[in-house]
Amino acid sequence: MLKVNNLTISFTGREGIIRAVDNVDFSVVAGSTTAIIGESGSGKSVSCYGLLGLIPQPPGQIESGSALFLANDLLQLDKHALRKIRGRDIAMVFQDPMTCLNPYMRVGAQLMEPLRYHRGASRSEAKRQALDLMAEVGIREPAITINYYPHQFSGGMRQRVMIAMALINEPRLLIADEPTTALDVTVQAQILKLLCDIQAKRDIGILIISHDLAVVADIADQIIVMQEGKVVERGDRATIFRRPQHPYTRKLLASIPKGQKAPSPISPNPLVSVKKLCTWFKQHNETVKAVDDVSFDVYRGEVLGLVGESGSGKSTLGRSLLNLVPATSGQILFDGQDVIALAAGDLKSLRRRMQIIFQDPFASLNPRMTVYDTLAEPLLLHKLETRSSVAERVLQIMDEVGLARHFVRKYPHEFSGGQRQRIAIGRALATRPEFIVADEAVSALDVTIQAQILELMQTLAQEHGLTMLFISHDLAVIRQLADRIVVLHNGKIVEQADTTTLFEHPKRDYTRQLLEAIPGKSLL
């Protein structure tokens, strides 16, 4: 149905011409799924956008290639003809359903728009179809929700809207670009299932793009692995997973989080003790109980995993522990001192001993400070180094977190996501803290990078004898790292057990659901 040959796309930037896509071939057969796998920057998205004329030209430039779709070469079509195909015969689903839906338009209008525009459907006709389709993709009460704005939906529902919107013109080919990356694991599983169902029902071709082999393990027929703009390996699912040829493919497979941390001896005395903690917010004149009556201990030297889906209050809990978000009631004892009741001066000295690593390594670094500034700031603040000795210490930290020393004068934006997270880790470690809260510290990263960062954190935790609260929505990741796990749901603790027990004998339904949703179980 779609056959792409010799596709080469380049971008003209300040550093000269960069070949983002280099001589790439792939095809999609009706009724089957082709997956393109690669890290960010591997050119996987660009090659798909290029087909549909969605890359800005300039700086982009399609140098060569052909893309036959239903007897038309997409690359030869003029803008107008291409636009007719977009949204009618080829539809797209994007990564982040929050930013990809127009926040200013009701979802109904957005759904109906392609139908009205491409097929000239009447308003009532379009609305009827939209309602049907919303029901089909599993949106409850479409008659009401059709008048909602995107922000009124949860992430998963939004992605269903996106899929409905893509399907509304009954396209022949659906391109899904990282359709589940921004979603919780349980939702991810549902969306993947939805895509499978639709394909079975409508017999359409799906081209799915992802950085995570585990995600596509259950649905892809054909897999294409891309690295630095080139296709390094291709083959059917079984071949790729069973007999990977290329080292890069093997690396991708190896990166899928699996295995479990070897149990380590745990000291009996807690470093952090949380007692009846409540953190409530006022919103819309209602009280949101983000953290509701939570009690647990973190023992010295252990890694405590905190798992929960978005909205479970896990991030608020992490921030409350460091007094970044004021707690409403309860006690947080850090080494015997109550963090909530401390005076500002004492708090400052305590802050040296407890640090946090955030999810988004871009947002958590001051964009206008170099690595040097970022790392030196805590050292000088807490008078751990003098101004003459600080430079040497900064370089040492960079060594520790695996950053080349010559990066010292660079700004965050000049680094990749993984490197940025290394800076953030370096900053957190600079004060030689005893306790670290890692809030979804690897969730924004590609799987390969995620694996590296997890390894780094594990190593550092051991070297420095750190106590860590590791927050994640991804049980597979937590299993790799944590000694014990706390499951949080709607601000309350659902279950709390050591890792082995939790995975093998989950007590609660909710925990079981989470375990079910771990992708790529077939691989394990």
């Binding site: 636009r83 007719k84 949204g87 994007f94 200013y104 922000h151 996106m162 919107m165 919103q283 819309h284």
Partner: protein, 311 residues
């Protein structure tokens, strides 16, 4: 929503009270009184005048009396125009100024949004530079200069439009509106350009394109709404600014608006009129900032529910 509006209005009360108090005493300290004139005033006459306007009482008593009247909506008699109350002067001037400001705002919006959007579509090309340079000049060319220039060109040399007046001759409202709107057109152009530039890189614009929407629809239906949010936020302060800043244009074009009354009052030390106009304009500014915030929230569905919690 209503609670939000209510709390904002409640917050405005102390602001207004301070404004009134400070203004009241400020103008009394300022040199020159309402009755000083080039020909020396005989002391007896001056005393008689001051008695009629309660100026002979202690300042504090005057202040309390003023507040008392104010609560009843009475802004007092004008010093400069005997026989006219300040309420009456404001009632005469404000509709004109409001009309002028409204037209100016329309001019500013149509020129500003047009230029800003056009410029944003092809950034860093002539299509961007030319309207934006014009906007920059627009920001800095004072009405004092633009007004007479427009009059000379359109009123005198071309003889297309009247050189002054308001509602007396057809077309006499065009030049004042354009002159007053020009500065704001320039600001709006810059705001809408920046807003559109940001919005047009959003993911949902890509979605719209992926849906095969024609470019005009992408810009107008999907882009404009979000791209103009900063403009909407600016509208309240802008309208308030237009109302209180229309004096120069009103003078140049002989428009019988509130701005002229206000500035004349300041020059004449027409105490009650200065106070009355200040109070009135403050109320308007509070109102328009509020309207602008509500409008902004209304434009942005994500904010609609949140009005209750923000201040």
């Amino acid at each position: 929503m209503w609670r939000f509006i209510g709390s904002r209005l409640l917050q405005a009360i102390p602001v207004l009270l301070v404004v009134i108090t400070v203004t009241f005493f400020l103008i009394r300290i300022a040199p020159g009184g309402p009755f000083s004139s080039e020909k020396a005033v005989i002391p007896e006459v001056k005393a008689a005048l001051e008695a009629q306007y309660r100026l002979d009482r202690p300042l504090l008593k005057q202040y309390i009396a003023y507040l008392g009247d104010l609560v009843q909506g009475d802004l007092g008699p004008s010093f400069k125009y005997p026989g006219r109350s300040v309420n009456e002067l404001i009632a005469a001037g404000f509709p004109v100024t409001a009309e002028l400001a409204l037209y100016a705002l329309l001019v500013a919006l149509s020129i500003g949004v047009g230029a800003g959007v056009v410029a944003s579509l092809r950034p860093n090309t002539a299509q961007d530079y030319i309207p934006m340079s014009a906007a920059m000049v627009g920001i800095c060319i004072p009405s004092l200069l633009l007004g007479p220039l427009l009059i000379l060109i359109f009123g005198i040399y071309l003889d297309w439009l009247p050189v002054s007046g308001w509602g007396d001759m057809p077309g006499d409202k065009i030049l004042p509106a354009v002159t007053l709107g020009a500065v704001y057109a320039a600001y709006i152009a810059r705001l809408s350009r920046a807003g559109m530039l940001e919005i047009m890189t959003q993911d949902y614009i890509r979605t719209a394109r992926a849906k095969g929407m024609p470019e005009w629809r992408v810009v107008v239906v999907h882009g404009l709404r979000g791209g103009l949010t900063p403009v909407v936020a600016f509208l309240g302060p802008a309208f308030a600014g237009l109302l209180s800043g229309s004096f120069v244009v009103e003078t140049i074009f002989q428009v019988p608006g509130l701005g002229r009354f206000y500035v004349q009052a300041a020059f004449n030390r027409d105490y009650t009129m200065i106070l009355g106009a200040t109070v009135f304009l403050s109320c308007l500014i509070v109102t328009f900032n509020l309207v602008s915030d509500v409008l902004n929230a209304w434009m942005n569905p994500r904010l609609r529910g949140r009005l209750g919690s923000s201040t």
